[in-house]
Amino acid sequence: MASNDAHETVIGLECHVELSTATKMFCGCPNEFGAPPNTHVCEVCLGHPGSLPVPNRKAVEYAIRIGLALGCEIAPRSLFHRKNYFYPDMPKNYQISQYDLPLCVGGHLDVEVDGRTRRIGITRVHLEEDTGKTVHPGTTGRIAEAEYALEDYNRAGVPLVEIVSEPDVRSAEEARAYLTELRATLLALGVSDVRMEEGSLRCDANVSVRSRGAAELGTKVEIKNMNSIRSVERALLFEEERQRRALAEGTPLVQETRHWDEDAGRTLPLRSKEYAFDYRYFPEPDIPPLEPDPAWIEEIRASLPELPAERRARFAEAFDLPPAQVRVLAGSTEWADFFEEAVRLGADPRAAANWMTQDLAGLLNQHRVELSGSKVTPAHLADLVRLVGEGTISSAGGKAALEEAFAKGASVEQIVEERGLRQVSDVAALGAIVDEVLAENPGPAEQFRSGKEGVIGFLVGQVMRRSGGAANPKLAQDLLRERLLTGG
């Protein structure tokens, strides 16, 4: 976006993250995606009369983990409130959530945009319960056209944290960076699968455009229904443009909630409501306050893993890697751990980083598998880097070995032996091949002697071919030159 125009975009993000606990927030039903409808339900999560909620300790622990990782203060006393509104996916017609006393307050997340670090404030992190899932049978799937709806409450009561940012985000690109960083952080913490496509990470955005430098926010529009980081970015770009154009044309903007239509690539106003929401929050009388023991908080703090930002800094520092590679390697726990294990097994860090970000990444991409789903191990990478470095195999041989390891999982040593990838560095053995090649190619040999030195490449290629790729190309060239110049 143009950054020197008269307007600036102000974005705040609200993310809902499903926690990967074994059971739901307030009952013992399994917290599991994809079960047959209404099989992970009980009297509590179906809102049967008389049933009562009891908070899941693990969910509270996970929320504290997130709060600590985001630099929040863990409130010495926080409360669950009831948020009252009627919707058929919500069995009690109120959501147990948190209101004016959330569990975590006032943190931040540092994100990198264009090589600069931007600090995005975190207003709060609070705990709540998820709703059930509504399907709208009908031809188009559009809610307004459906004749009726069907409710599955397996998801009802799954623990959610809501992470609310300050309105510190200034562009769609920053929003993407924020979500990418948040996602990586949550993955590193091990508290959620953060799969946007399965709904375990959901994001709404508040967007407004104001005169640059103005203290007041412009008319705020809330955007919902963005199902990937990419669609958040697209929706924000669209909305930013729409609002800027309206301001330029002098068309008044209305404060409203808009829906992102992925296929149409635009935001649309949601059906306007008959009346404003009035959630009638009040303290949840069924659940006593949370007053987490400071010792418990410290225990959780001590157990925090290295976070992606810290890891990036350490990788850059310790391994002297370029920022682009650091971003890829430290971008996920899986990649970072893989890399570090290879280095621990003796691989040269820069070479290992190159192999991972180029060849290995290429293979994964081509075969559409995750690193964890492939047969390649840090030991493979370490062996590969070592053998290429020692000159035992050529880098071409290394690529071949990596592909074989990727497909079959056999050890690199074994692959090198089986496929004869070991470079022939034996002067006698290689000399014999060189002699054969010269005998069979008198023309090129003559050309070389008459000054066309470039033809040496062709002759090296012939040696390589005859040796089945195993010849050490440097040695082959040396021997060829020696024979040709001594007139043999």
């Binding site: 049967h48 009369p49 008389g50 009562l52 009627f86 058929p88 009040f282 009388p285 069924d286």
Partner: protein
């Protein structure tokens, strides 16, 4: 004909003693209870459902175990009734409401689960004001219940069905719920013992919520000893209720005989103010004298903010109720309106058809009191008053072990007398509500009848978790009074 009392007229501890000595069988006891239901419930109308077959089977099971030489629990084989706001698996549970007509819970409330495991025999589910909102049981959407002492009078409420069932021998004891006096007030009006324990002593799991922070499970019994026994059987920590207090069930019978000598009892001056009937005032005065004669130290006490308790209660209870009752929407269970246009229309008409007047009135009050712009002035202020009431109790309990008042300012009033005047009806609970706001234990114990022959209840209130003192004083008073008068209905039947 000698003793006109049937087995079902005896206190539970006497029945238990007979079963233990082989003098009678659980089968005989349950048959006498079922026969009494057959004989009188057409007039009293305590029950919404009678579970005769299951009761017989359970009694037979208890007898099998008894004959096999097993030691029975103190509740085994004793006919029990449950207020119909307590969830019972496989047995319809309606809360006296059309919106739950035909609803069958998929699980048991904890109190019944514990009693069931101990061999208790359920004879039926009792009538109540719809969702426990009321003080006369006239707000039941099915039918009113009549007071066994005067069939033209109300039994009190909201647990009127349970109170009337125990008073008329249809059940030996019963559970009710008490949100603003709904156990103690009907116990007083029906001449039985009604006990509301400390908030959190008995699990609320399966108690269908009216106002969660005020709801308590309580007991109806013929004697204070039975109250101690029944409470011990259902009390103690329940991991399914986050507001349930830690610790095992208390043994409340152990200190029952310790008397009142040296106990400091504060007589609440509010209990003798305007609106208290002379008959009630006289009986309570005599009770004070009696306790003094037994060695209690009597003094004057006051809860200075008592005058604000009704106001606070009629904000907090409806506010919580408006949220608790939001789940009755026609989606998952219960009534659903016909031919809905869309889901909002379905929910709105389902609720309009399914709820009665008093429930609608309270949902409206509660919704309003929580709504934007009004929360601070109403709900927020009411919660502050609640703090003041709790401080009043703390202050009073600095000087006294127990506080004494009438349970209800009046004896049983006539059916229909207060139905058109909600404020007059709400005043029935003026002495019982403070204990709900503060969560302290309180009992209503019979202390004779007024000039019309209607029972008067004496309320004793104790400190948090000091049920033992409440019960011990009530027991001493009950033994000393030796009141054995029975409802005319039963005397007529026997004669």
């Amino acid at each position: 004909m000698g003793d006109p009392r049937e087995p079902c007229d005896l206190p539970a501890h006497e029945i238990a003693a007979r079963l233990a000595s082989g003098e009678g069988s659980a089968g005989q006891v349950v048959e006498s209870s079922l026969a009494r239901i057959e004989a009188v419930d057409g007039r009293v109308r305590s029950f919404l459902a009678v579970t005769a077959e299951q009761a017989r089977q359970r009694a037979a099971e208890v007898d099998r175990r008894r004959v096999a030489g097993e030691t029975l629990s103190a509740v085994a084989g004793i006919p029990l009734a449950l207020k119909d706001v307590l969830a019972t698996r496989g047995i319809p549970t309606t809360c006296g409401s059309q919106i739950l007509r035909g609803y069958v819970p998929p699980y048991d409330c904890t109190a019944w689960a514990r009693l069931q495991a101990a061999g208790s025999v359920l004879v039926g589910k009792t009538n109540c004001d719809e969702f426990a909102m009321g003080s006369s049981t006239e707000n039941s959407s099915f039918h009113p219940t009549h007071n066994p002492w005067d069939l033209d009078a109300v039994p009190g409420g909201s647990s009127g069905g349970s109170a009337a069932a125990v008073a008329s021998g249809q059940a030996v004891w019963a559970l009710g719920t008490d949100t603003g006096g709904s156990v103690r007030q009907p116990a007083a009006l029906c001449g039985v013992v009604g006990m509301k324990p400390t908030y959190g002593l008995v699990s609320r799991y399966g108690l269908i919520a009216f106002a969660s922070s005020l709801d308590h499970v309580g007991t109806f019994t013929r004697t204070v000893r039975d109250a101690a026994t029944l409470l011990s059987a259902i009390g103690g920590h329940d991991p399914r209720d986050a507001t349930s207090l830690p610790g095992p069930p208390p043994d409340l019978a152990a200190t029952l005989e310790e008397g009142v000598r040296g106990l400091r009892i504060g007589v609440l001056e509010e209990g003798f103010g305007e609106g208290v009937e002379p008959g009630v005032r006289d009986r309570i005065g005599e009770a004070v004298d009696r306790l003094a004669a037994l060695g209690a130290e009597i003094g004057e006490a006051t809860l200075p903010h008592a005058g604000y308790t009704l106001s606070a209660y009629y904000l907090i209870a409806p506010a919580e109720a408006s949220s608790n009752l939001a789940r009755y929407d026609g989606v998952r269970y219960g009534h659903r309106a016909d031919d809905p246009r869309d889901v909002v229309d379905m929910m709105t008409r389902t609720r309009g058809e399914g709820f009665g007047d008093e429930v609608k009135r309270r949902i409206m009050i509660g919704t309003y009191a929580l709504s934007a712009g009004y929360y601070d002035a109403y709900y927020g202020q009411a919660q502050k008053v609640r703090t003041l009431i709790i401080r009043d109790y703390e202050e009073a309990f600095g000087s006294f072990d127990l506080l004494l008042s009438p349970t209800s300012p009046t004896t049983a009033f006539r059916l229909g007398e207060r139905t058109d005047d909600p404020m007059a009806m709400y005043l029935s609970d003026v002495f019982t509500i403070p204990a709900n706001l503060a969560g302290v234990p309180a009992i209503s114990v019979p202390c004779g009848v007024d000039e019309r022959g209607l029972p008067v209840g004496l309320q004793l209130t104790g400190k948090v978790l000091d049920e033992a003192t409440v019960l011990r004083a009530a027991h001493a008073f009950e033994q000393d009074l030796g009141w054995t008068t029975r409802p005319p209905l039963l005397e007529a039947a026997a004669g």
